[in-house]
């Protein structure tokens, strides 16, 4: 009965993994609890009961949003450089100067300017604090009415962007080197790990959609595929150097989709433009059809951007919400349900990471292919 041994072994391993997870969540709430009690003793009278309640929506949105400092663990933060292009020029300082204030209560004076940080966005500070002690004017939705300098800070997402670019460069330059060293031989190591995926992009994404002209678009398709995939995976790592929600950030997806749009517009042939501005329909239908086709040019990349952003963000929110349930119910026992669920969602997210990279790439190839298609 060999099989039973294997089964036992797997069960043991699973048990260990679960035990570790549970142990982790047993310990963390205890820490939180201690912190809470100390806070409570200090500010028990000052703060109303409602303020202390765990806000799941805020918690999740805070974690998927960009940040000016990188939270490592506990009270340890990595201060990232803040670079602002203000009315009077470039101002650079360390984000730790805000001392983790995110409620615009602490004013930083640099380069003759005064700045505050509210919900990870930097504003020009008001002259005086409002009734909540915030140096910003806020509307009824707690959104600031103050002006913002152009923010070119190296945020957590920008940092992750650079890390992922370096990782991708390291991986693929090593792969390329493998082809040089082992010229004409079968692939080995990292090379043999990446080659099937490169071939997958070439044979299943580029060739069927782009036809014989596929080679021109291979650099973009391969880069965008691996960029999205690597960053999706990095985003699933809950601690350094992962943890940022880069591909779930609309700025990133909008840039990627814009490049696809530019490729479509630059490479679109006369049939593509004819299809938009002079389709083969009676002339009076042009009034309806031409505007629809023009909108169609832009809806394709917008859909690309929104799809990637929404899928990755949704995955992160799901995991955060499941973990957050523990704090909502303020009970360790919820972790017995929410941790396996989060683990399950995490496993699905691994699949989604690949699938979304695949979908973005294949749709880009499809849209470009439609624009360069020859009609006979």
């Amino acid at each position: 009965m060999d099989c039973s041994h294997v089964f036992d072994f797997k069960v043991n391993r699973l048990t260990v993994v679960f035990a570790l997870f549970l142990a982790f969540f047993f310990v963390t709430p205890v820490l939180y609890a201690q912190e809470d009690t100390s806070n409570v003793t200090a500010t028990a009278h000052a703060e109303p009961e409602a303020e202390k309640k765990f806000n799941l929506g805020k918690f999740a949105l805070h974690h998927i949003a960009d940040s000016h400092s990188w939270h490592v663990i506990g009270d340890t933060y990595i201060g990232l450089p803040v670079m602002l292009y203000t009315n009077t020029g470039l101002v650079v300082f360390n984000s730790n100067d805000f001392h983790h204030d995110d409620e615009a209560k602490l004013v930083v004076e640099k380069g003759g300017q005064r700045f505050v940080k509210l919900h990870e966005k930097i504003y020009y500070a008001s002259e005086a604090a409002n009734e909540h002690g915030q140096y910003v004017e806020v509307d009824e939705n707690h959104h600031s009415l103050n002006k913002r300098p152009l923010d070119f800070s190296i945020t957590k997402n920008v940092c992750t962007l650079f890390i992922s670019v370096l990782v991708i460069l390291a991986v693929f330059l090593k792969v390329a080197n493998g082809y040089k060293v082992r010229k004409g031989l079968s692939p080995k190591g990292l090379q043999s790990w990446m080659e099937p995926i490169i071939l997958f992009v070439r044979d299943d994404i580029a060739k069927p959609n782009l036809g014989h002209k596929y080679e021109r678009f291979m650099p973009y398709l391969l880069t965008v595929f691996f960029f999205i995939w690597f960053n999706n995976m990095l985003g699933l790592i809950p601690f350094l150097p992962g943890g940022a929600n880069l591909t779930g950030n609309i700025a990133v997806t909008v840039v990627l989709a814009s490049i696809t749009l530019i490729l479509i517009l630059v490479n679109g042939n006369k049939y593509y433009w004819k299809h938009i501005f002079a389709p083969d329909v009676p002339w009076w239908l042009y009034i309806v059809l031409v505007p629809v086709e023009i909108i169609g040019i832009f809806t394709k990349p917008i859909a690309l951007a929104i799809r990637l952003f929404a899928n990755i963000t949704a995955g992160h929110i799901l995991v955060l919400a499941l973990i957050g349930l523990i704090f909502v119910f303020n009970s360790v026992y919820v972790s017995f349900v929410s941790v396996p669920f989060a683990l399950f969602i995490g496993a699905i997210e691994l699949l989604v990471a690949f699938i979304q990279a695949f979908i973005f790439t294949i749709l880009s190839a499809l849209f470009i292919g439609m624009a360069i298609e020859e009609h006979h």
């Binding site: 949105l61 998927i64 949003a65 960009d66 670079m83 919900h119 152009l150 923010d151 070119f152 800070s153 190296i154 945020t155 997402n157 920008v158 962007l161 650079f162 670019v165 991708i168 460069l169 693929f172 330059l173 792969v175 390329a176 082809y179 040089k180 010229k183 004409g184 080659e195 490169i198 071939l199 070439r202 080679e215 291979m218 650099p219 973009y220 391969l222 880069t223 965008v224 960029f227 950030n249 609309i250 700025a251 990133v252 909008v254 840039v255 990627l256 490049i259 952003f309 963000t313």
Partner: protein, 164 residues
């Protein structure tokens, strides 16, 4: 809604970083990698084609071998048959010759025997005639010693003459 508003900083950094990544990878990774993969695929295709050709050549050669083997076998059979025929004719000829030779010899022997027989008979006749003449002489001598007897004899001889 805040999530749906792109931040200018990240847009700029993303554009720069991504384009830089794409150009570096295109030049130093994708180009050599795709070229190497293509080259390897062509090599494999060529090798497969060559193997296929070699296989066909093998089949052709085997068929050729088989053919020549068959031919050789047929030729051998033919040669053997011819040899056998030749042998048969030689043997037959020899037999016939031997027979005729023997017949001739026998004929010769017969003639010789006949001749010998004739010679022997002739000699015997001579001997018998001379012997009978001798006997006859002696009888005549004894007979003719007496007159009477001579008369009788003459009578008897005459009688025989008449009978003949």
């Amino acid at each position: 809604m805040e999530l749906l508003v792109p931040e200018i900083g990240l847009v700029v950094f993303q554009t720069i970083a991504f384009l830089l990544l794409m150009f570096i990878l295109a030049k130093f990774a994708w180009k050599p990698v795709l070229a190497a993969i293509k080259e390897r695929e062509q090599t494999i295709d060529e090798a497969l084609n060559k193997a296929e050709l070699a296989k066909q050549e093998m089949v052709r050669l085997a068929a050729q071998n088989e053919e020549s083997m068959k031919e050789a076998r047929a030729e051998r059979d033919l040669i053997l048959k011819e040899a056998k025929n030749l042998k048969d004719t030689i043997v037959n000829e020899a037999r016939v010759q031997a027979q005729t030779e023997g017949a001739k010899l026998i004929e010769k022997a017969k003639i010789e025997i006949e001749n010998q027989k004739k010679a022997a008979l002739a000699e015997l006749k001579n001997q018998v005639s001379s012997l009978s003449l001798d006997i006859a002489e002696r009888v005549l001598r004894s007979q003719l010693a007496d007159q009477a007897k001579q008369q009788d004899l003459v009578a008897a001889l005459l009688k025989d003459v008449e009978l003949n």
